[in-house]
């Protein structure tokens, strides 16, 4: 079975981007038309259900596992795991830097890969940041956005959380392009791919337990807050405001401060 066949991949891309380009299906309820346009969330009812499901999974599985992860592994070890996983993502970040024409960022990524893989011992130590080569993340969803694809309707993916058609296509594409996954596929090590993905999820979750709990505690509408944070964060990434760098320079030109009155359905 070759899930990586070009035919399947291109079909996924076509469907995903078609959904992204689509408008809201069905008749809007009275008074809800403006809402759908503001939040780009025509599937809000379904999303809220999935969100509720995700919350249950989170409370009953993910958070306990993340807390156990914290208890079992001391902070330096967890940091090393995080560094290792981040380093593994390097090739995909680099590929997307190149696809977006970001020469400087691509250079950063290559230097980081080289330094952290060698001096940093297979990525366990983030020496690159210490010598002044900062980290930035990049992914195919951002690349597609810079190529002009709009985000499409807000979608909550079971377990994985908030996303949209363009970003879903991006995640799938990045998964296929990832050399680590490719090598594991060649050797029929599906377990390695799953383990990496699961560890990455637990690592991520363990780093934001208190932050998210705090937001949930103070929120009147936690779903809406997460939706806003996610969409704004993606838009900021697409404007290449890099969260981990000071004084983000708007690479795509224009003011780095978004006009808050812009409709959210415009991605760029």
């Amino acid at each position: 079975m070759s899930v990586c066949s070009p035919l399947i991949l291109s079909s996924l891309v076509a469907v995903g981007l078609a959904v992204a380009g689509c408008g809201a299906p069905g008749a809007p309820r009275p008074g809800q038309t403006a809402a759908a346009e503001d939040f780009n969330d025509p599937y809000e009812d379904a999303n809220r259900s999935v969100f509720g499901f995700n919350q249950a999974v989170d409370q009953n599985v993910l958070v306990p596992v993340a807390k156990a992860y914290r208890t079992v592994l001391p902070p330096p070890v967890r940091q090393a795991v995080h560094n290792f996983l981040t380093n593994l993502d390097g090739p995909v970040v680099f590929a997307n830097d190149v696809l977006q024409g970001q020469v400087g960022l691509a250079g950063n990524t290559i230097v980081r890969l080289a330094l952290n893989t060698t001096i940093g011992i297979a990525g366990l130590f983030d020496v690159a940041t210490q010598v002044g080569v900062p980290y930035h993340s990049n992914d195919l969803g951002v690349t597609l956005a810079t190529w002009g694809f709009v985000e499409g309707p807000y979608i909550i993916v079971p377990v994985l959380g908030p996303s949209n058609p363009r970003d879903i296509v991006g995640k799938i594409g990045d998964g296929f392009a990832d050399p680590g996954n490719y090598v594991a596929g060649e050797h029929h090590l599906l377990l390695a791919v799953i383990a990496r993905s699961a560890t990455s999820g637990i690592d991520e979750r363990s780093r934001n337990i208190e932050s998210l709990a705090d937001i949930e505690r103070t929120a009147l509408d936690y779903y809406a807050t997460i939706r806003s944070l996610y969409r704004q964060r993606r838009q900021a990434q697409i404007r290449h405001e890099k969260s981990d760098l000071p004084n983000p320079n708007p690479v795509q030109g224009g003011d780095s401060a978004p006009d808050a009155s812009l409709s959210y359905s415009i991605a760029k």
Partner: protein
Amino acid sequence: MIGIRAAVGAVLASILLLAMPREANAQDARAFIGTLGEQAIQVLGPGVPEVQRQARFRELFRNDFDLPGIGQFVLGRYWRTATPQEQQDFLGLFQEYLVRAYSARLGAYGGEPFRVTGERQNGEDTVVTSEIIRPNGNRIAVDWYLIGRGPYKITDVYVAGVSMKVTQRDEFASVIQRNGGRVEALIAQLRQKLSVAG
């Protein structure tokens, strides 16, 4: 939630800066923000009782934030449809909501190094850029949007490219929309949230 960790974590890490009474004499935007950061540790000191922290925070919000402007923005299009009484009720509740939320966060999070990195103009507003250095070495960009010419008032804070004002407006708009467009439903929920929080 994968992907928004940076924004979420940084929101809370950055709030710790905003917690001290200060004179609104500063003419310099950078000094205004810089002083906020420098004095943060005092209010975060061990043993600062919650009541005292909230009191200082309340004073800070009143002095250094453009609360009426922020409140009007956060209510969005519903500001016009709200009665004057609702507007006043909302502003009062919103301010208290912010005080409770952020002073609690201050108590939970320790101080993190923070430095002002620059200043630029955004139309009539001034933007002071800063960064917070996380324990793992990552740096989070925090942009402070100021209005006025000194004394300045903070009108918005962008953390990792995410606007706190916009996030709040989105959330409240969602609450109002899901309650048939009635502002009083939001007011009622705010009141209930504040009474539960204690």
